[in-house]
Point group: C2
Chain length 139, copies 2
């Protein structure tokens, strides 16, 4: 049986991966179904029109969950264990907008731990800033 | 046109809501589809058997997203704006296990801001500890 963790992999500070995707109405509906969060600011254009944003915005945790996607697939990759996440939601991601999310290794610590900078931007501005603590996949 | 935000609602420190649900294989698969996070520690029992956990665990951000569900629906409720979230993933939630997530108002600040304690527990122990910063719905 192969053990994917046995593939040697060295990590270095400064390694970074990013991904750009559109947050669709379908994504937002799927997240609402999954979490039970049917806050009308995300789902109801008439309600959203009465808010500071003027139109529906994606759930912050949906956008933040894309960091998990990069971490689990690309950097650090399969086998990564998530230990912590800090998030600041600075601006909305409108439903239908493109968002670019990135993960960068900013510190490698003892016992296989690392700190990653997690950033999301949309429409030319940072929408989420934060950092993650992970246990790197075994090398 | 009705404005749901116009409904008077006073918030007090100590208000708390919780929700218990089972995290199903279907939930984990849906979250993997939504975020692109196909880390085998969540999806592949053979791989998970080689890890410290021994069996598939739910994505940490899936469980943490349930806080968003309580906040958007119950406390503080519809119209809540998420400003920040800190999370410590302390122990795994196994796929198929029950998890109880809770949100409690621990501080009400100026300009409609509040800090909420966000906790998740499964199998008798705390699995996620953290707190959220929100803008309360207008009263």
């Amino acid at each position: 049986m192969s053990d994917e963790r046995a593939v040697p992999r060295a990590f270095t500070v400064g390694e970074r991966r990013e991904m750009t995707r559109t947050v669709t109405p379908r994504d937002v509906a799927a997240f609402a179904d999954l979490t039970g969060d049917r806050n009308p600011v995300h789902l109801d254009p008439a309600f959203a029109a009465t808010t500071r944003f003027g139109r529906p915005i994606a759930h912050g945790m949906l956008v933040a969950s894309l960091f998990s996607g990069i971490m689990g697939q690309q950097l650090p990759g399969p086998g990564t264990i998530y230990l912590g996440q800090k998030l600041r939601f600075l601006a909305p991601v409108f439903v239908g907008a493109e968002v670019t999310v990135s993960v960068e290794i900013i510190e490698i610590k003892e016992k296989g731990r690392a700190t990653l900078r997690t950033l999301a931007s949309s429409d030319g501005k940072v929408v989420i800033d934060g950092d993650a603590e992970v246990l790197l996949p075994k090398t």
